[in-house]
Symmetry: C2
Subunit: 301 residues, 2 copies
């Protein structure tokens, strides 16, 4: 049995694991995300103790540089997170561990994990959206997560914003009222004065939240018409929110795009993730199993 490694780097926590390509995890550790040097040292120490691997998949918070021809490949780019801008995540692991690193966004990795073992099995074209501290989307349009001149940044699309209904100006430091600025967790907290998890299920926050998320998803459907959309993240844990988003999305899309995939109710089309808390690290393992044109070869001795 041969194993591969997976690392999910998040804003607060990193999860490292070693597992097999049937999705079984044989070693796992959760580390706080502090400064890059300390965090990367802890990740490297985990892999030195764990069963030996030749490939490590990394699903990273972003934005990240995924271009293997770029000198900053495998680094986190314009992040507000202290110390992490241009931290050489992939190359540090590659050099210290003498492994091939497959580097991807956290949502690209999660999409791949859900396609391999979760709610996206058997689905060729898939969008995975997470609504939490930010809004991110991973797109599988073929064998691997889609990148153009950048990875997707669907959180930053603009959607209609009726300032009479919702005078909140949006929380995105770059764009104000982009989708993320209107609908991420911190936007909810700033608009309503308390965190999303303290808002009653009957609060007026939720119809508005569902409308924004559905607007973003409708634009994704009109652009790419993926076979399925997986919608997760901390905010989506709110009771009743997923069915609300389904109804809004159906109102926005159905009748114009005709497909058996959009059967009434959208219960089979817009679904929750199936991998739960392990989605990120399983996605990183899936990356390592899939290999990738975006990986650099192992460092030479």
């Amino acid at each position: 049995m041969s194993f591969v490694g997976g690392v999910e780097t998040g804003g607060s926590w990193c999860v490292c694991a070693v597992g097999s390509c049937d999705g079984a995890i044989v070693a796992q550790e959760r580390l706080p995300t502090t400064d890059p040097q300390e965090t990367l040292s802890a990740i490297i120490a985990f892999f030195r103790r764990a069963p030996r691997v030749e490939v490590v998949g990394v699903g990273s918070f972003g934005p990240v540089d995924l271009d293997p021809r770029s000198p900053t490949w495998g680094e986190v780019m314009a992040t507000p997170k202290a110390g992490w801008r241009n931290a050489p995540v992939a190359r540090a692991l590659q050099r210290a561990l003498d492994v091939q690193v497959v580097f991807e966004t956290d949502v690209g990795a999660a999409a791949l994990g859900e396609q391999r073992w979760g709610a996206g099995q058997g689905v060729g074209s898939l969008a995975y959206m997470t609504v939490g501290t930010g809004i991110g989307v991973g797109l599988l349009l073929g064998r691997e997560p889609w990148h153009g001149i950048s990875h997707p940044e669907v959180g930053h699309v603009r959607v209609p914003h009726d300032t009479a209904r919702d005078p909140f100006p949006g929380s995105c430091p770059y764009h104000g009222d982009c989708l993320e600025g209107l609908a991420c967790g911190p936007a909810l907290a700033a608009r309503w004065g308390r965190p999303a998890e303290q808002l009653d299920p009957d609060h007026e926050a939720w119809p508005l939240e569902a409308a924004y998320i559905a607007a973003g998803l409708a634009n994704l459907v009109f652009t790419l018409a993926p076979e399925r959309i997986i919608l997760g993240g901390g905010v989506m844990a709110a009771p009743g929110l997923l069915p609300r988003v389904r109804r809004e999305l159906e109102n926005l899309v159905a009748g114009y795009i005709q497909s058996p995939a959009l059967a009434p109710g959208l219960e089979q089309y817009l679904v929750a993730p199936a991998l739960g808390d392990d989605a990120g690290v399983l996605g990183a393992i899936a990356l390592a199993c899939a290999g990738s044109a975006y990986a650099e070869p192992r460092a030479r001795p």
Copy 2:
């Protein structure tokens, strides 16, 4: 020298051609689009007179059914154009001419033609947007035009609509103020009381038009980050409009997505089509040359 056929079916005119896969056209004819039976008969008559071909590419106005497993493959779907709903365009040509038909949207075909011979040469991922009677987008994300459960319908995405600045409710019969409803040619005519080509270059119509188109394009960049965008169609012929859209798009995108492709000014990123009036039919010929998983085999004798 072997030839292939191409047909562009448009709302007012159809163009048929026979040409070679280096882009040379050896026979061409322009026919009015009337009812499906008369129009298809005229197309068939053209190919019976023209040099013999084995493959015909068709770029059709839409929405169309592109799923080769569907009983309505090769038909125009929910169109307001009288008589054309469920007209069996592809199968009629296939049967009458004993050819393989490669069936695509008009914009998908045009994208392929521009990639092969025009403004998209050497570009791997490409979006082609036309702003005219409607707004359509063809996406090349790999070897052939992208389809998910449908072809792209990017004209129907929602963009921010400031009703204080622009009280026009939008002209889309399905969505009102979607991108097409706000920015297509008929929307301009309805908003300002005269056709786009009669609006002075200094008219307040143009900054607004540029803002809507750029909002749609920015969402496309945040979603797919294509390597290049080609922007054509009758409305884009307005003097100064393309540079205005470039400026707006740069304001909306640049600084967040970092890529050498987005060099300041966007002159190399957002470009006009290069194939002019022949784009549609050359795209149809490019379809036939490329072949496609979306083609059905030739009808059996």
